[in-house]
């Protein structure tokens, strides 16, 4: 009978972790997760930023009151302000000081002192109510009828250019993200095949004792999922920490002009967590499919 002095050990995993053999793959997966997180959060931040810039642009309109010989431009600006304020959907109209117009000439004229009688246009900055339209033709016509020569810029072209640029950047980032996820898939296939090669005896014995392919596939699948989840979590966390640090540098006075304005929060963190989870699911599925296919091909050949 059994020897009571010998203690029965706890159950051992059929496919234990092999840290030494798994390390290269672990590092590759962590790097891929790092890149995937950066790409994903860049796409998200670019969406938010482009949307915010677009909203800001579409909520402001600039009116340039052009000087007319013999007429007081300041008076024309005041009159134009009253006409515009009378329109619907207008939050606020500000007459920009003369120094603002002079400042716009600086890139061309430098710091030279401008003569007092130089006819400079006066700029009006109009703030439109949130998500309301500004009728350029109507305002333009009203100003013309009042004898005011004005040029109205509702920033629509600029806004369109901005959206087009943002969309191009987002498309590239999404493509990069898809490529990274495909690379993760490839790494999972490679890892599974490597694990199978390293565990040939286990596979043969499991087949010999009548294990169903699904049983063996599940063991390899869970192992690959666990490796991917761990590596993915490390890579994602690393990328998230990097973005936090970059965000902090971006707020420092001396570095503000050199660093991008990055701000990541809880939502971004939760979004980033999807990457290791997606990696684990991809790895598990790929491993399951690979092992199952090999076993079915080898079964009673």
């Amino acid at each position: 009978m059994s020897d009571p002095s010998v203690k029965t050990p706890p159950p051992q995993p059929l496919l234990p972790d092999d840290k030494l053999a798994d390390r290269p793959l672990f590092v590759v997966l962590a790097i891929l997760a790092f890149l995937a997180t950066l790409t994903l959060l860049t796409v998200k931040l670019s969406y938010v930023s482009a949307g915010s810039w677009g909203d800001d642009l579409s909520r402001t309109v600039t009116v340039q009151i052009i000087p007319i010989m013999g007429k007081d431009t300041n008076e024309a600006a005041q009159k134009a302000r009253s006409i515009i304020m009378a329109q619907s959907n207008i939050d606020n109209v500000s007459i920009m000081p003369k120094s603002y117009s002079e400042g716009l000439l600086k890139p061309w004229l430098g710091d030279m002192v401008l003569p007092n009688d130089l006819p400079l246009p006066i700029l009006l900055s109009i703030k439109i109510s949130y998500k309301k339209n500004f009728d350029v033709i109507k305002v333009s016509s009203a100003l013309k009828n009042a004898g005011i020569k004005a040029d109205i810029d509702d920033h629509s072209q600029w806004s369109k250019d901005l959206k087009r640029t943002a969309r191009a950047a987002q498309t590239i980032a999404i493509l990069a993200f898809i490529l990274i996820m495909l690379a993760i898939n490839g790494a999972a296939v490679f890892a599974t095949r490597a694990a199978i090669v390293g565990r040939t005896t286990l596979m043969q014995v499991l087949q010999q004792v009548g294990a169903l392919p699904a049983f063996t596939a599940k063991i390899f699948s869970l192992r690959c999922a666990r490796t991917s989840l761990k590596a993915g979590a490390i890579g994602t966390l690393g990328a998230f920490l990097l973005l936090i640090v970059l965000g902090l540098f971006g707020t420092m006075p001396g570095l503000r002009n050199f660093m991008p304005g990055i701000s990541v929060g809880l939502i971004d963190f939760l979004l980033a967590l999807l990457i290791p989870i997606a990696m684990a699911i991809i790895s598990a599925f790929t491993a399951w499919k690979t092992v199952n296919r090999i076993l079915m091909a080898e079964m009673y050949p």
Binding site: P9, Q208, G210, P301
Partner: protein, 239 residues
């Protein structure tokens, strides 16, 4: 063992027959047939030895029995089922009714003796509580009671062989296939292992053992003698 001339099918005797080979031929690739027109029937609960000169195809014959490969031609029946008609998913279920002991033991190095022996039960989803006592008893029976925590790399050849045998026996197989089970052990242990197989046979298991050592074959055993790729049936005392 029954010496029959090329039986076509066994519909009326399937409950008494474990294994049937009908005009089996086997070749690897495009080479010559290494087994040719092999015909035999092994009765349920029989004790059989496969013997013959080295390279005569003993291992290949066993591989055909435990469904490790398909014959190039002919019909194999296992438990009354035509194996060529089996669905792939049915193969593992057939294998669960068999215990297999191979020449190279096929123990898993990262599992200790206990876990290696428990493997066939783990894949069935049995709980540890259900099989714990059975494993301890079996390990004790094969003389490995104190080696249950040892890993295969620390075992002697004889111990490995006994662990592999214990793993094959733990499922109480209907058919036990052993390929040179005494090849790596001394005569004393070899004789002890044969007694162990005989005991299993006494309990109703059909036993097929391939060996080149005729001294181990009991006089009462049935023998499949392989020569020139075919089976010459003989009783043990005729060889």
């Amino acid at each position: 063992m029954t010496n029959q001339s090329a039986p076509q099918y066994y519909p009326d005797v399937t409950d008494t027959i474990s294994i049937g080979f009908d005009r089996i031929g086997l070749r690897y690739g495009r080479g010559e047939e290494i087994l040719s027109d092999v015909n035999f029937v092994l009765q349920k609960g029989s004790m059989n030895f496969v013997t013959g000169p080295s390279g005569s195809g003993k291992t290949s014959l066993l591989k055909l029995i435990y469904l490790n490969m398909r014959p190039s031609r002919g019909l194999i029946t296992l438990f009354g089922q035509d194996t060529s008609q089996l669905e792939k998913m049915a193969i593992p279920l057939i294998k669960r009714r068999m215990g297999i002991v191979l020449q190279d033991f096929m123990l898993i190095d990262h599992l200790n003796v206990y876990e290696n022996v428990a493997l066939p039960l783990r894949i069935l989803g049995n709980s540890r509580e259900d099989y714990h006592e059975d494993i301890l008893s079996l390990l004790s029976w094969v003389g490995l009671g104190k080696r249950q925590n040892a890993f295969p790399t620390t075992l002697s050849a004889g111990e490995k062989q006994r662990a592999a045998i214990a793993r094959a026996l733990i499922v109480k197989p209907e058919i036990l296939v052993a390929d040179e089970p005494t090849g790596n052990v001394d005569k004393e242990i070899g004789a002890r292992l044969i007694r162990l197989f005989s005991e299993m046979n006494r309990l109703g298991t059909t036993v097929i053992i391939a060996t080149h050592d005729r001294a181990l074959i009991p006089n009462s055993a049935d023998i499949l003698y392989l020569q020139s790729g075919t089976v010459i049936h003989k009783r043990g005392d005729d060889v």
